[in-house]
Amino acid sequence: MTSTVAVFDATAPWQLNEQVSIRDESFGALAYHHGTRRLVFLKSRELVDVVRRVGEFENAGAALDALVPSDQRGRYLVALMSLARSEIIRGR
């Protein structure tokens, strides 16, 4: 397995990092990490919803099952992986 996979485990519980502010925009939202000073574009409303609510679910996979169409699951997994790497979401 690659190291990228090690960063993000969809069977583990995740949540929005409390150091992150999210502001809704027409394209989705902007997420700003106050600690790393990084600005991240969330380019769909569905992704914004997943990022905000992932903490409500037992694990990331369950959040995707509930919030995104099953045929797009792979796409969202990749997005969450990237957001985990940039610490927008964090393990809980």
Binding site: S21, R23, E25, S26, F27, L30, Y32, H34, R37, L39, F41
Partner: protein, 170 residues
Amino acid sequence: MGVDISLRDRFGAWSRGADLSHLGADLRLQPRLHALPVVVRRRDPNELTTSEAKALIDEIAAMQIFYINIGGGEPMMRRDFFELIEHAVDQHVGVKFSTNGTRIDEAAALRLASIDYLDIQISIDGVDAATSDRIRGAGSYDQARRAMDQPQGGRLRSVQDLGRDDERVH
């Protein structure tokens, strides 16, 4: 109270559907940085009062601006400087500000180090006093270096940006 023209009115056009992540704020703070404190300059008549500045920060927070850049003049000349930046950071509005460093003594450095979401740029205009002081005035380089060399509670790290004429303390 409050600023005469709503910030939302002034910047609304920028923020509509755009990625307005931060604002530059010039709170009209005291002297030009070339002027070292030997010379006492007049206050700018447009300088905001504490409550006006706080109202401005409240509007910035309401607009969900992620951080503000504060310039000047020399922002640390304001007596309410810490009160204002803490007011911003308390509302999750990050602060970045530029200073000539003259007001950063040990106590100020420790207080700055205790504030989250704060980036400070201490300005110099050359790699040595001879170069920098030509632009910023006699003694300015040493004062900036003194500020940079303050004990910083282990929290601040210094970044030298050699590609440009400034040096940053985070």
